[in-house]
């Protein structure tokens, strides 16, 4: 079972490292993608375009190497939740947007494809979070402290 959680962490982490890396290569395009949501002024979008990909990469690496694992897991869960919210809000306002989440690979995804991928990743993150918190709770209960998981 421990192997399963390791594999899950590597897969989710790998997805975010890849997603971050393709955006690091073209921050201007990612800035335009953020700008397409029409939620933030350009000077914020362009700065986020330089920051968010690195945040994704560091969080992804945290999941892969299980270093700062809970922090990475929490941040990614929040990021994906914010992204799902922004995508739904953009759709509700009738905006035809490309998410830019995975560079050119995601440019022609439909709204439903975006949602399916995002929700799948979100579910995987939530499951990993629950496992982590349950594991912590059990270790407190039985051993009176934080154990290694």
């Amino acid at each position: 079972m421990k192997f399963f959680w390791r594999i899950l962490g590597v897969i989710i982490g790998g997805i975010f490292v890849y997603a971050g890396a393709v955006k690091v290569l073209d921050p201007v395009q990612f800035g335009l993608d953020i700008d397409n949501y029409k939620m933030l002024p350009w000077f914020v979008s362009v700065r986020l375009a330089f920051y968010l990909p690195w945040l994704e990469i560091f969080c992804g690496l945290a999941l892969i190497f299980r270093f700062l694992y809970r922090g990475g897991l929490s941040l990614l869960t929040v990021l994906v939740l914010v992204f799902i919210g922004a995508t739904v809000a953009a759709k509700a306002r009738g905006l035809d947007i490309t998410c830019g989440c995975f560079g050119h690979a995601s440019q022609h995804w439909s709204f439903m494809q975006h949602m399916a991928i995002d929700l799948a990743i979100f579910c995987a993150l939530v499951v990993a979070m629950i496992k982590e918190w349950l594991g912590l709770a059990l270790s407190f209960r039985f051993f009176g402290g934080v154990g290694r998981h």
Binding site: L32, Y51, W54, L55
Partner: protein, 142 residues
């Protein structure tokens, strides 16, 4: 337990700042920090008129809006029908011409995206986005 998670999150947030700042520094001259479209890639209605016959107008609005009305002589070129419309547009371009792309208004992105693709994919030079878009053109011409 919660504080440890928060602490880890803050460490990652801080770590991610370092390469982001480095990358921002590297790209400092290649990015327009104040506007999504650099001033050098924008054209006003007056500028476009002053350029006279060397201007090729490109309408990046949806087909129905183009059909309803457009700048006289403009070519329709949208991302949805890019592969179909680009070959129809390209024979009208020649070196020395200036391409001015417009969409509905200042807030739309279609003109910016089409202009970018004309520069990157069709390798055209002197491609501009009309400031204020179609709304501005109508205001100044009708």
């Amino acid at each position: 337990m919660k504080f440890r998670t928060l602490g880890e999150a803050f460490i990652i947030i801080a770590l991610a700042c370092l390469p982001a700042i480095g990358e921002g520094f590297y790209f400092r001259d290649k990015v327009s920090w104040q506007s999504a479209i650099p001033a050098s890639e924008l054209a006003t209605v007056e500028q476009a008129h002053a350029w006279g016959d060397i201007v090729i107008w490109v309408d990046a609005r949806p087909d129905d809006e183009f059909a309803a009305d457009h700048v006289p002589g403009a070519f329709s070129l949208t991302e949805d029908r890019w592969n179909e419309l680009l070959p129809q547009f390209l024979p009208n371009w020649s070196p020395g011409k200036k391409v001015v792309v417009y969409c509905s208004a200042q807030s739309c992105n279609a003109a910016r995206d089409v202009a970018k693709r004309l520069r990157d994919e069709a390798q055209l030079k002197d491609v501009f986005v009309l400031q204020g878009g179609w709304e501005e053109w109508v205001k100044k011409n009708r």
